[in-house]
Symmetry: C2
Subunit: 230 residues, 2 copies
């Protein structure tokens, strides 16, 4: 199956590598392909520029937002939450129509320093997941994987024998069923995929970020997650 | 030690009973004592009226908000989050000055149905814990226990051998140390009391409610909590 990843950050690269390993055909979409390939800047975490990463992940294709969205039978939104809606508009509603879109982004607002807040208009009475669903009514948006460090998204067994929680929400049961199968392949057993219902569940999981980021600040590692104890 | 509980709901009654069992002197504060004692209404959950509960918890005293706050060497806010600041103003800044106040309330807004939102002005860029701290600068506000069902607050061993998390935040290290000792007595070992830092941590823990309430809706029980897996 062909999968498009919108966004070239740590989340996009991590998911892309893993999906290639699982034998999917993967295209990453970026705003401007030639700029992205010409950039020699390291990322925020000191990682090498994207072009170097692409060399060592040669099965991953790179295209514009629209090329990637047109290519993918399933699309993953791994952009910065503040830019997600704009990036997806560039990807094109027609290219996204009728497809499942996995939204991993969080509407974080770093403009007032750390820890970030959630973006105005995208919290409490709304969420990024809902906003994307409202903007692209013909797309089946599934919010998942957004409550953890990207290293765990593709390798839950890294901690606690993989026994911790990944939330999922979305309006389409069929889309969630498809995404759950993909999550199984990433290492998430059904018992640890917690279905919160429709896409308004994204209000809950995106609101986990303010506490996640504070716990992260105390533990000084992203390699942690929540388990539900009953 | 004398402890005041502000609020006669399920949380207030549960904490009061447990503190009496632990040999504390407890007074519950209510808006209007004679009204509260005259009421024959069952609560939202079908529990008997407060006067009946008080009969079977005869060591608990009942007073006005101000009487209770004056009585307590330590004060617990167990009011409805939407009324907390008003109730504490009635309790009196002078009666609260120089004291530790444990804030268990959550700023839930049920006006748009279930699951509730957080109250405007008390989320994302603010929190109820911070608002109380700002309103009563001479009081040492400690936010804790607000991320779980009240049955677990006083009996964490009810599930998962007690191995799950209770967050704490507050500006005063001394106040947090005192509250941690009380939490130990309630059954919370130090290893499961997670200190998020200053009172802005309340933004994180109050924001857990939108996901807590959704998980609660799926599990149909409040007897669950989160564990941090590393």
């Amino acid at each position: 199956m062909k999968i498009a990843i919108i966004g070239t950050g740590a989340v996009g690269k991590t998911i892309a590598s893993k999906l290639v390993e699982l034998s999917y055909n993967v295209m990453i979409g970026t705003r401007n392909v030639s700029e992205k390939m010409a950039s020699t800047e390291k990322d925020l975490y000191g990682n090498p520029p994207f072009s170097e990463w692409l060399k060592s992940n040669s099965k991953v294709r790179l295209g514009s937002f629209a090329e990637a969205a047109a290519f993918g039978e399933l699309v993953v939104n791994a952009t910065n939450g503040g830019n997600s809606v704009t990036a997806l508009i560039h990807a094109g509603a027609k290219n996204l129509a009728g497809k499942v879109l996995i939204d991993i982004a969080n509407p974080l607002d770093f403009s007032n320093g750390m820890p970030p807040r959630l973006l105005p208009g995208l919290n409490n009475t709304n969420s990024l997941g809902e906003e994307i669903q409202k903007t692209f009514p013909e797309t089946m948006v599934v919010k998942t994987l957004n409550t953890m460090w990207c290293g765990l998204m593709i390798n839950p067994n890294l901690i606690g024998k993989g026994d911790h929680i990944n939330f999922i929400s979305g309006n389409s049961e069929e889309a969630k069923t498809r995404v759950k199968k993909l999550l199984n392949e990433l290492g998430w057993p059904d018992k640890n995929i917690f279905d919160l219902g429709d896409i308004t569940g994204a209000r809950g999981t995106e609101a986990l970020l303010p506490v996640w980021l504070r716990v992260n600040g105390v533990l000084k590692t992203g390699a942690f997650n929540f388990r539900i104890v009953r």
